[in-house]
């Protein structure tokens, strides 16, 4: 039914276009005054009327008659005709069809742009709504400051702290890996590598950036974690099979391209005059980079790190596959911890009643996650903006 309705509306619009155009063209007599707008615009305007009328009555019909009913496409056709006719009859030599049509187009464009804002509102509203319902059964204090997380236990406890600690532990490991690797790669590519070498190295980083996180998670769980476990135990440590180190390491490698490309842009944006000033003083290249370029690029690099942290915190698949499920309040990288995203995934996957505190706690977690990453991203983007102004 849906497909038929759409096809019918389109058909009506095409007919309206043809009708409008021919009608307008017919108004012109040889040697007489010209049309204000091209006939095709008359046609387009009429067709727009058909589409709007048709859509409006189709939606109304779906509500009244049901979306499966035969009456809905009928309503659509009637709506299209009703929409097209008044516009058709407006056609005259003076009629500013093009302007009217363009006004319709503008409204359409604005509506489309509104979708992006609606998305944000939708996210905030829906997640917040469920979170507030959750806070009716579990107090925010217990949630934010509780140290025991066991939603499936009896009694269920919803202390958020172990998740926060677990998330931070893995994030710290990831940044400890990605920070030096990403930054040093960017420095080498921006300052030392020849253009030919750059064109060879950049694709490697872009390929790594394009690898889906589920693939990285598989690699982490099947190859990296056992490797860390066996080498750790060979050295005498007790290593969990889902250690934070394994997940953090692979997540770090995932973030390297992000830090590298952002830092690369930022380092390249530092004006050459600063470098020249340093070289002219007799500084070596590494001294110039360490003492002049990097300090000048510092705000941008800090913001790159913030974006990387935000990405690490919000990453799901690698940790779901390679990190643990039990909430564990520890700072030991060889132990298994769980993160916010893992809990969201575990709580919401599978069939459970939607309104239980267990399911709603996932939304509360989601809200915290969204808020946190939003703040980080906002600050990071503002720093980049202000920083750009400094050099423009």
């Amino acid at each position: 039914m849906f497909v038929w309705t759409v096809l019918l509306i389109v058909l009506m619009a095409v007919i309206a276009y043809w009708a409008g155009r021919t009608h307008a063209a017919g108004l012109v007599t040889a040697g007489g005054p010209r049309l204000h707008s091209l006939p095709s615009y008359h046609g387009l305007f009429t067709a727009a009327g058909a589409m709007i009328g048709g859509l409006a009555l189709a939606i109304a019909g779906a509500f009244v008659f049901g979306s499966q009913s035969l009456l809905t496409p009928v309503a659509a056709v009637i709506g299209a005709a009703l929409g097209a006719f008044p516009l058709y009859s407006k056609s005259s030599l003076d009629f500013r069809a093009r302007n009217n049509f363009e006004r319709v187009v503008l409204v359409l464009l604005i509506t489309c742009s509104a979708v992006a804002i609606l998305t944000t509102i939708g996210i905030v509203f829906s997640v917040l709504y469920e979170t507030l319902i959750f806070f009716r059964s579990v107090s925010p204090i217990e949630f934010l400051f509780g140290t025991h997380w066991s939603p499936t236990g009896t009694p269920a406890s919803f202390g958020f702290i172990p998740l926060l600690v677990g998330t931070l532990l893995i994030t710290v490991i990831a940044i400890a890996v990605a920070g030096p690797l990403g930054l040093l790669s960017a420095i080498y590519m921006a300052e030392y590598a020849s253009p030919r070498l750059r064109s060879f190295l950049k694709p490697i980083l872009e390929i790594l950036a394009g690898i889906p996180t589920v693939v990285l998670g598989f690699f982490a769980a099947l190859t990296v974690a056992p490797l860390i476990r066996s080498s750790g135990e060979a050295m005498g440590f007790s290593v969990a099979s889902e250690s934070a180190l394994a997940a953090g390491l692979v997540m770090g490698m995932m973030i390297v391209p992000l830090i590298s490309s952002l830092s690369d842009d930022i380092i390249n944006a530092v004006p050459q005059s600063l470098r020249d000033g340093s070289y002219a003083m007799g500084a070596t290249k590494s001294e110039t980079i360490k003492k002049v370029v990097l300090p000048a690029a510092l705000p941008g690099i800090v913001s790159a790190f913030m974006l990387a942290i935000s990405r690490a915190i919000g990453e799901t698949m690698i940790v779901v596959m390679a990190a643990g499920l039990a909430a564990n309040l520890t700072a030991n990288p060889l132990a298994a911890v769980t993160t916010i995203t893992v809990q969201i995934a575990t709580l919401l996957v599978g069939d459970q009643e939607f309104d239980s505190p267990k399911t709603l706690s996932a939304f509360a977690l989601g809200f915290v996650l969204f808020f946190f990453t939003l703040v980080l991203n906002y600050i990071a983007l503002r720093i980049v903006q202000k920083y750009r102004e400094q050099y423009d």
Binding site: Y279, M281, G282, A283
Partner: protein, 273 residues
Amino acid sequence: MNAPVHHQTLITPAHPKALASGQFKVTARDVDVYYGEKQAIKKLSIDIPDRAVSAFIGPSGCGKSTFLRCINRMNDTIPTCKVTGLIDVDKRDIYDPNIDVVQLRAKVGMVFQKPNPFPKSIFENVAYGPRIHGLAAGKTELDEIVEKSLRKAGLWEEVKDRLAQPGTGLSGGQQQRLCIARAIAVNPEVILMDEPCSALDPIATAKIEELIDELRQNYCIVIVTHSMQQAARVSQLTAFFHLGTLVEYGDTNEMFTAPQEKRTQDYITGRFG
């Protein structure tokens, strides 16, 4: 205003002569500079004396900045640039493989057209050079070097109370003097200046020109300028460049009143440029 130095032994390119020893700080013989395929400097030979200001003038694109940048090997930072010929500072070939370019640049300082202080404090800007070259044994020595350099650059009185503030917060003229102080702090013997006043207002320019006049008592100064008036005010010797060749080099006063080459005459009188 300026007493010409070593007047009699000046060489114009038409009469190359062997050097008398110890008289010239910077000498060049048959220098060619290429940017890729394009030749920017053609067979340049010149002798630049110490403790004097030599000005390079000429229309834009004639190669004066290019040659200036050869003297402290800043052209090394441009991958497509190729330099052949001989350039000596203190009778040592600066392109000799045994020469450490890092130390060369401490000896031959440079001030750029647009003031480029580092985004650090005033103190750190001046202290940068002495730090990396290890010229100060401790903090007190470093403080002394910074104060001395700022005094020599005529900036000390204006900034002595705000050494910790960023160098980029100073006015244009002050920034340029800061850059000069920065260059002085590493104890150079030659100071190269590439159109140092073109980004400054007339008052700041006047201050810098005063400074240059003081500095020439202790340093060999080479200044590139597109203003003939400035060259006339500030320098003892002037070199006129045209299309990559050195057309004439001689005493400033004589150059501007009675030049020997027709091209020089045409440029000075404004026929082109």
